[in-house]
Symmetry: C2
Amino acid sequence: MSKKIFTQTAVSSESQARTGVLNTKHGDVQTPIFMPVGTQATVKTMTPEELSSINTQILLSNTYHLYMRPGHELIARAGGLHKFMNWQGPILTDSGGFQVFSLGNLRKITEEGVAFQSHIDGSSHFISPEKAMEIQNHLGSDIMMAFDECIPFPSEHDYVMHSVDRTTRWAKRCLEAHQRPDDQHLFGIIQGGIFHDMRKRSAEGLLDLDFPGYGIGGLSVGEPKENMYDVLDHLIPQMPEEKPRYLMGVGSPDCLIHGVLRGVDMFDCVLPTRIARNGTAMTSIGQVVIKNAKHTEAFEPLDPHCSCYTCKNYTRAYLRHLFKANEILGLRLLTLHNLHFLLDLMNNIRKAIHDDNLVEFSKAFYLDYYGKPLEWD
Amino acid sequence: MSKKIFTQTAVSSESQARTGVLNTKHGDVQTPIFMPVGTQATVKTMTPEELSSINTQILLSNTYHLYMRPGHELIARAGGLHKFMNWQGPILTDSGGFQVFSLGNLRKITEEGVAFQSHIDGSSHFISPEKAMEIQNHLGSDIMMAFDECIPFPSEHDYVMHSVDRTTRWAKRCLEAHQRPDDQHLFGIIQGGIFHDMRKRSAEGLLDLDFPGYGIGGLSVGEPKENMYDVLDHLIPQMPEEKPRYLMGVGSPDCLIHGVLRGVDMFDCVLPTRIARNGTAMTSIGQVVIKNAKHTEAFEPLDPHCSCYTCKNYTRAYLRHLFKANEILGLRLLTLHNLHFLLDLMNNIRKAIHDDNLVEFSKAFYLDYYGKPLEWD
């Protein structure tokens, strides 16, 4: 039986939401949680201390990118990813599957694995389930993800079935190849597109393999959000209560709320950091595009209700100036603010679950942020 | 008589070097000092707190850039430059002259001032001595610089004489136009190229006007360093002991040492921040180009003798990875390191003057950094 790594601590009486504690070698994580993304062993523009200052509990880093540059063996020689990037909290690494499958014509799938060409120099590479484990074992992440096929949307039912079965076979090979199960938790990834029978087939195959936690992959890849919520509605009740559930690559406020209401424990997404670098801030009343002319003389914070460093010390007018002048400090200040916003949202969500008023909280947040009601009965 | 703003606190027995205290409305500055440059109301990549953490005493910001974007009137409405950029320490602003004269064919000089076109949108502008004062009064800097003509190297003796006399006339107009002499110190700028008689002529004209401090302009504009040192050797003995001397636009370690030995109190330069963003670090044994292949697996700090955040927490291998991967954190970490390096050098220089062993200190530093002896008797 797999090691117990998750303890449910409170449940919502009006939804599938729950709080819990996820144990890792580098510390415990309070769930539900959003994980900032540090693709290339750095959360873009941020130091580890800044991430700690906004209560980042766990980071995600990308296996594919680190394998390509600087290389997993170099990172192992550096003492592992935590030491290399100066982050002593938990780290989750993805499997590389999502990036490899995103390469399109640059990759070829066989039962053995995936052959592909580097996005950096065009060199040829091959990632198999065993290779994905080798890379992640070298990185030393606290949570590793099994190597899966992330299918595009839309995909044919027949193709999805073949893919789901292969992902299950690959998952078994990952379990067998994993060299450090005492230090690193390995999660399986449930696929199946938007087909309920395929999600069920994937879940059954992977639950039999008894992973300590499960990712829900292949969502937020172009399908309507209603399809995502529908998949979660049907899939999550089939997933074990005593194991963490990780909805991969999802991080907009609406998806976080809808995901938590349906029982998701973990999320990650580049959204908050990426839109920050484009000059878009998340605030309690929705998105603010800082370059807009109306902020030229706005000598007020991005968000008067926000307690982050950016909002405590700078005006919209100054932030707009930094973006107009292409100054890096602008990217830093908006990144910090957006991550703080989502981490603070998750903190409030955990509190609301504990107080059993999550639906009320979510409805109020949603109305303020989107200016329309949350659809939830 | 101008207000006394500077007190000499120690003198070197073997050179013209001295320590002193420069009083400003936002605090005292221990000299000799290097001033990091925040061209567009931000020291590129840094927060004010980070600048404080490396003992930045005073910043420079550029009048020309702030006049063009976001505009001095906007900054005044924001509560002044200190509040706008969240820096509560002293700020020095240049006059805009250097940038305007760097525009080449885009500007036209008359006795009244300089007409030029914006580097941003090509729009037409006119800066006169009075306008330069108006802008800097709006910004609210602690130290303002008179509007001068910064002549190129080489320039004909005859042109230099006309230019020096005009700069003196402009300086007088600046004094008369200055609206906030109680809050903001106005420095005159001594020009004269590399001609001793012209430097003398400029100094005499400006000393008659009794500014509380003096800039030495028009150096480090392409002339050999020996010419710069030669000008300082002859000019500084003509300058008053009781007023601060500011060598403008100079900041390489050799020039800082040679300048201090000759009696300079203040320096500024974009060098440490600019080369940092190009991946070059200043270390106790000279410059390090972080992208070089030899640092690929260098699991050691940039500089083992350095106590900065970067050197305490990151390896050369990680810094190289950040630069190879175009990650902003790399720009931040090298900028912080280089500024720390120069500010630490100035701190050691002040201590050496106080202990009266500046020449010994300088010779040891120079040999370590440049691998060759300092030329000084």
